[in-house]
């Protein structure tokens, strides 16, 4: 169980990126965090990953507080962030340096096969397409068998077709070991396809606005009426989250809203 207990983050420049964010995420659950820009969704993910420390609050995973990168937590970024000096296979095996060479080779080969890139094992990252590179990043994160996998807008840089392909692919991979997925996205479609629960966030300061359980059966049909209805529900929640966002005086002044009086 991953718990976020009143987590908040204030940056040194005084920006309140995240405020009193509390949620409990079951093992194996897929949670999508969605919201407009500046709602603290990436801040939230980086705090869980241990890359940035939360200013207050606690993030226990199975009772153990996460304050630094943890072996049970993996992350996939918006960009593949492959190491350009390592072959595709070595990139995937990057987090397996504790294993013996033959064991590592087997695990990497299996991961490559799962993402359908066995023929690219010896290629350099520069020789891959955007979609292939992101597949390698997914394989690199999953090959260490994390209990929690964080995804920070992982498909947003890809074209619509590749994005759909990788969303389905991610679900296939997830179903094998069923790690907890926490996915940050601004694509409502993506959230509804993947998630068991969607957390709609509200900007300035970033706060949880509404949690929506998605009970659609998998695999989900993107063209079904139920899918559309669910999407509309999320979009409405998003709209309301923006309407009800407390006007932050500093941000409003910046935007020129303070001119009316």
């Amino acid at each position: 169980m991953l718990v976020l207990d009143r987590v908040g983050k204030t940056y040194p420049n005084g920006v309140n990126a995240l405020e009193r964010f509390s949620i409990e995420i079951r093992l194996g659950e897929i949670v999508a965090v969605i919201g407009g820009s500046g709602c603290g969704k990436s801040t939230l993910l980086r705090a869980i990953a241990g890359l940035d420390r939360a200013s207050y609050g606690a993030i226990p995973l199975d009772g153990e507080a996460l304050t630094a990168p943890h072996p049970k937590v993996g992350i996939i970024f918006q960009e593949p962030r492959l190491l350009p000096w390592l072959s595709v296979a070595d990139n995937i095996g990057f987090g397996l340096s504790d294993l013996s060479a033959p064991e590592r080779r087997d695990r990497v080969a299996a991961a490559l096969a799962k993402v359908g890139l066995s023929d690219k094992a010896k290629a350099w990252p520069r020789e891959l397409s955007g979609g292939q590179a992101q597949r390698v990043a997914i394989a690199r994160a999953l090959v260490v068998r994390p209990e929690v996998l964080l995804l920070d807008e992982p498909f947003s840089a890809l074209d619509a077709f590749t994005r759909r392909d990788l969303q389905d692919h991610l679900l296939d991979l997830w179903s094998e070991t069923r790690p907890t997925l926490v996915l940050v996205t601004h694509d409502v479609d993506e959230a509804v396809v993947l998630a068991d629960r969607i957390l709609v966030m509200r900007p300035r300061p970033g706060r949880l606005f509404e949690g929506v359980d998605i009970s659609l059966t998998r695999p989900r049909d993107r063209n079904s009426e139920l899918f559309e209805t669910t999407k509309r529900r999320i979009l409405t929640a998003l709209d309301r989250s923006l309407d009800q966002a407390a006007p932050d005086p500093a941000a409003a002044a910046e935007a020129g809203d303070a001119l009316w009086w």
Partner: protein, 281 residues
């Protein structure tokens, strides 16, 4: 009158891709040689035709025969060996010091604040200005010469290493952090490979400066070395000997630079560069 352009175009197209590649492989370096060879041939011809006596600017044939003479008497090897030795020793010292201090300054902020302003101030001093002090401190012989070369090599290496470490992509470093790399592992697995391309460039710049400073060092009183050949040629009015030494400098400088490039190539094959680096020969 009609011009028939068809024939050459067809003959080019009929070249198989392989032979075309081979053709390019040989014509590219040849293209670079075209200008110097033309100038040399023109000068040779001008002297032979009697337009100049070639006394102050000897024709290539005279320079070549001077090199031949020096080679036959064994002088050339002796002068080349001692100059190479000086450059080698000074380069090694400069690279070692520049790499260590550059790495410390790049990696550790406190050290950078302490160290970097002083190094930058020292860098602003023309290195030749150290010559009198080095002679006083280290004597007129080898040590002062090697020290001067090392000073010249040090700065580009120091700057290159520090700058490369400071500009390593934060996103790549974060990948290392998410896999919980220890400090040494982070250096070995992320920082070293990331700074390698810039390091090779600074090695090449440093080597170039090493060759520049060996001449300065050998001007300050040497009895052997290629720099000595230059001074000797000036004092005894032997321009052919001066040009011979200059040609040898060019060949040695280019060859050593090429050796660094060749040695680095296997480690830099991953680079997604605009033009893949390849040996010039």
């Amino acid at each position: 009158m009609t011009m028939t352009l068809d024939t050459p175009v067809e003959s080019i197209q009929s070249l198989a891709p392989q032979s075309a590649a081979r053709w390019r492989r040989w014509t590219r370096p040849a293209l670079g040689l075209l200008l110097p060879l033309t100038v040399a041939a023109a000068w040779e011809w001008a002297v032979a035709a009697g337009w100049s006596n070639g006394r102050l600017v000897p024709p290539p044939s005279t320079v070549m025969s001077t090199i031949n003479e020096l080679a036959r008497s064994g002088e050339l090897v002796r002068h080349m060996a001692i100059t190479l030795e000086r450059v080698g020793a000074g380069f090694a010292l400069g690279v070692a010091a520049g790499t260590v201090l550059g790495a410390i300054s790049g990696y550790w902020e406190l050290a950078r604040r302490l160290l970097d302003p002083t190094v930058q101030a020292l860098r602003a001093i023309p290195s030749i200005a150290w010559v009198p002090l080095f002679i006083l401190w280290l004597g007129i012989f080898e040590l002062s010469k090697v020290a001067l070369i090392a000073v010249g090599v040090f700065f580009p290496i120091y700057l290159g290493v520090m700058g490369a470490i400071l500009s390593v992509d934060r996103k790549i470093v974060e990948v290392g952090r998410t896999f919980r790399l220890s400090g040494p592992a982070m250096i070995r697995r992320i920082l070293l490979p990331a700074v390698l391309p810039a390091y090779v460039v600074s090695l090449r710049v440093g080597l170039g400066l090493g060759w520049m400073f060996v001449v300065a060092a050998e001007f300050m009183g040497a009895s052997e070395g290629l720099g000595y050949l230059l001074i000797d040629g000036q004092q005894l009015g032997k321009p052919a000997q001066i040009l011979a030494a200059i040609v040898i400098f060019a060949i040695l400088g280019k060859t050593t630079d090429w050796l660094i490039e060749i040695a680095a190539m296997p480690f830099l094959r991953w680079q997604d560069a605009f033009a893949p680096s390849r040996g010039a020969f």
